[in-house]
């Protein structure tokens, strides 16, 4: 029998397959961004923080759904779709502050950005890929909690179909509010990350910014404690207690805007048409609707512009 031979070519093979250019490059940056944030393709330690924060954003919805399934729709303290983003906003802001800088800081610290920019990719392509990667994850995180909550509310209702008919507007509202919240949570930390190579510095700065600005706003603004009191003559009057607040009245409304954490929450309240009891938000309730909108635009478009300016002239 003729021996059958096989030729093994272990020499260098030229590549003559498809080359998809800039389109593939952009997609690769996006996909790598998603994997980086979630710690995929990295050691176990890189997965711990994203996993914990991910759980933190979804677990509240699961708890509410469990309570609904046990107590039914009579459980009055269960937040609706309008309140849910405020409940998880702290977790989302923490997630943004801790995870978003990793996308930009490590590429600059390790000089990998220089290897990207000698490939068919512009600095704007790179930024867009990274921005969209983080935005997509935050959006998925925000929506998944809302979807779980919505499903719980519908299934626990005595008449689910009627519940949907009465509350269908909640769906476009939570989609819109979630989109705007994700945009804010992506833009601010990434802009901060463009100023430092160290992820920890960026994270500390963003967390500090949120905590300090909220603390200052709460400390300065007055949510006057007013109540009806009875006079000795039997009549009643409204007495207000401003406590130790430094600022009261109209000035307090403006000072309450200092709280950066409240920026997306105010937009959420406007979309759902609800009133918020948080002191710093309540203090600004009397301001014209255009003010919170302008503030939101400033805190999302502003960081995006800063990011673009920082990377526009970056060179290897």
């Amino acid at each position: 029998m003729q021996p059958q031979g096989e030729v093994y070519n272990l020499g260098y093979q030229r590549y003559d397959g498809p080359r998809e250019g800039r389109r593939r490059a952009r997609r690769a940056i996006f996909e790598n961004g998603v994997r980086t944030v979630l710690g995929l393709g990295r050691g176990p330690r890189a997965k711990v923080i994203p996993a914990l924060l991910f759980l933190g954003a979804i677990v509240p919805a699961l708890i509410f759904v469990i309570i609904l399934s046990v107590a039914g729709s009579s459980a009055g303290f269960i937040p609706g779709p309008s309140d849910y983003y405020q409940v998880i906003s702290i977790i989302l802001l923490l997630f943004g502050a801790i995870s978003a800088p990793e996308l930009l800081c490590s590429d600059r610290r390790d000089n990998v950005i220089h290897l990207y920019l000698v490939r068919p990719l512009t600095p704007t392509d790179y930024l867009l890929g990274r921005f969209l990667a983080f935005f997509t994850i935050v959006l998925a995180l925000a929506y998944s909690g809302q979807i779980i909550l919505q499903a719980g509310l519908i299934l626990s209702a005595s008449a689910p179909w009627e519940y949907i008919q009465d509350n269908w507007t909640d769906i476009p509202r939570f989609l819109g509010a979630g989109f705007l919240m994700a945009l804010f949570i992506t833009a601010v930390p990434l802009a901060v990350a463009s100023f430092t190579d160290r992820r920890a510095y960026a994270a500390a700065f963003v967390i500090g910014l949120f905590i300090i600005s909220t603390g200052v706003a709460d400390g300065l603004t007055s949510t006057e404690d007013c109540r009806e009191v009875s006079r000795p003559d039997g009549s009643t009057e409204v007495a207000c207690n401003s406590g130790d607040r430094a600022v009261t009245g109209e000035a307090a409304q403006w000072f309450s805007l200092i709280s950066i954490r409240d920026v997306p929450v105010r937009i959420n309240d406007m979309i759902f048409g609800t009133e918020n009891e948080t002191p710093s938000i309540k203090a600004a309730a009397g301001l014209h609707a255009s003010i919170p909108i302008a503030l939101y635009v400033l805190f999302t478009a502003g960081p995006v512009l800063v990011l673009w300016l920082r990377y526009r002239r970056i060179r290897a």
């Binding site: 030729v7 070519n9 030229r14 393709g41 000089n111």
Partner: protein, 335 residues
């Protein structure tokens, strides 16, 4: 991998057959220059980095040689399209890279400094960089595995890059420049920071990539030894100008000095040569005879036989690039 005879023929075909598929019309880089500088000038404010430099780079390994501040890095950045020239033009495969970025898909670049992520594996990193160069994911995976094997990191490819030695990191840097099968690779000081053993390995790898893989390279370095051992041509930059250029062989021509090396009885050989009227100089283990003619060759043959020595080497000495530099410097000083 099992390949057919047809495939072998195809993969071993000449450069002429390899079209640049990112262009509608293939750029024939077997006859046209890969890189072309025409009156290329770059000023940084009052500092002149390059002044009216013109040269062409064709297939093969070309050395860009010069001391620090000569303009080597600026030249590379101009060809990568990272900066724009003050005047003149820099063309890569016929296009100006600062006008269009698509051509970068066929260029590779290995920077001098460390530019690797520490927390990912070499395999994951190379796969990603192949995709950023435009390769689809399945092909990127195959290419990453192939290239890591070629640079000698096959068994280490699933380790995090942060755990690699300096030499291994240097090889990953080279691998990322090759993973998308570029037409031309620009190497910036590829042996920087390596110990003598690592340097030899890297130079061997560069020679292999140039000769066996058929990938052209521009090697920017201040080390003349690196150029001598790898390059076909050399462009010598000094203070932003081209001081000299040409084939490396042209600069390292044979001299009339004869190098003699023997395994033993060296002193007896020297004595026998002296008796025959041939003057020798000792340079370490090497005996040098100046101005050798036929009579000297006969005398060496007889002296080695008389001393009963084993002849290891008998060859005309070549000039080194170092000597050319030293000559240029001494001319400049005396001028």
């Amino acid at each position: 991998m099992v390949v057919s005879f047809d495939h072998l023929q195809r993969t071993s075909s000449s450069f002429l057959d390899r079209a640049c598929d990112w262009r509608p019309v293939a750029y024939n880089y077997a006859v046209k220059p890969l890189l072309e500088a025409e009156n290329l000038t770059k000023h940084y404010g009052a500092t002149i980095a390059l002044e009216s430099v013109s040269f062409q780079v064709y297939e093969g390994i070309t050395g860009l040689l010069g001391p620090n501040g000569a303009g080597k890095s600026t030249t590379i950045k101009l060809f990568l399209g990272l900066i724009r020239p003050t005047s003149g033009s820099a063309r890569v495969l016929g296009e100006e890279p600062y006008e269009t970025i698509e051509g970068r898909a066929r260029l590779g670049y290995m920077p001098e400094y460390e530019a690797l992520p520490s927390s990912v594996t070499a395999s994951e990193f190379l796969m990603h960089m192949a995709q950023v160069s435009g390769l689809p994911p399945s092909q990127a995976r195959t290419r990453a595995a192939d290239i890591l094997r070629h640079v000698g990191l096959d068994e280490e490819r699933y380790r995090q890059i942060g755990q690699y030695s300096t030499g291994m990191k240097q090889r990953v840097k080279l691998a990322q420049a090759l993973v998308h099968d570029p037409v031309l690779v620009l190497l910036d000081e590829p042996t920087a920071g390596l110990d003598p053993g690592g340097r030899e390995e890297m130079l061997g790898l560069i020679r292999r990539i140039g000769r066996e893989f058929g990938i052209s390279m521009v090697l920017s370095t201040h080390l003349m030894g690196d150029i001598e051992r790898t390059a076909d041509r050399v462009i010598l930059l000094e203070d932003g100008h081209i001081a000299q250029e040409g084939a490396v062989a042209q600069f390292t021509q044979e001299t009339e000095d004869l190098h003699i090396e023997v395994d033993d009885h060296r002193h007896e050989v020297i004595a026998a040569l002296t008796r025959r009227g041939v003057e020798t100089k000792e340079q370490g283990a090497v005996m040098v005879v100046e101005g050798a003619d036929d009579a000297v060759y006969d005398a060496i043959r007889d002296a080695v036989a008389e001393a009963d020595a084993r002849l290891r080497r008998l060859a005309l000495r070549r000039h080194t690039l170092t000597e050319i530099f030293q000559d240029r410097k001494s001319h400049a000083t005396s001028g």
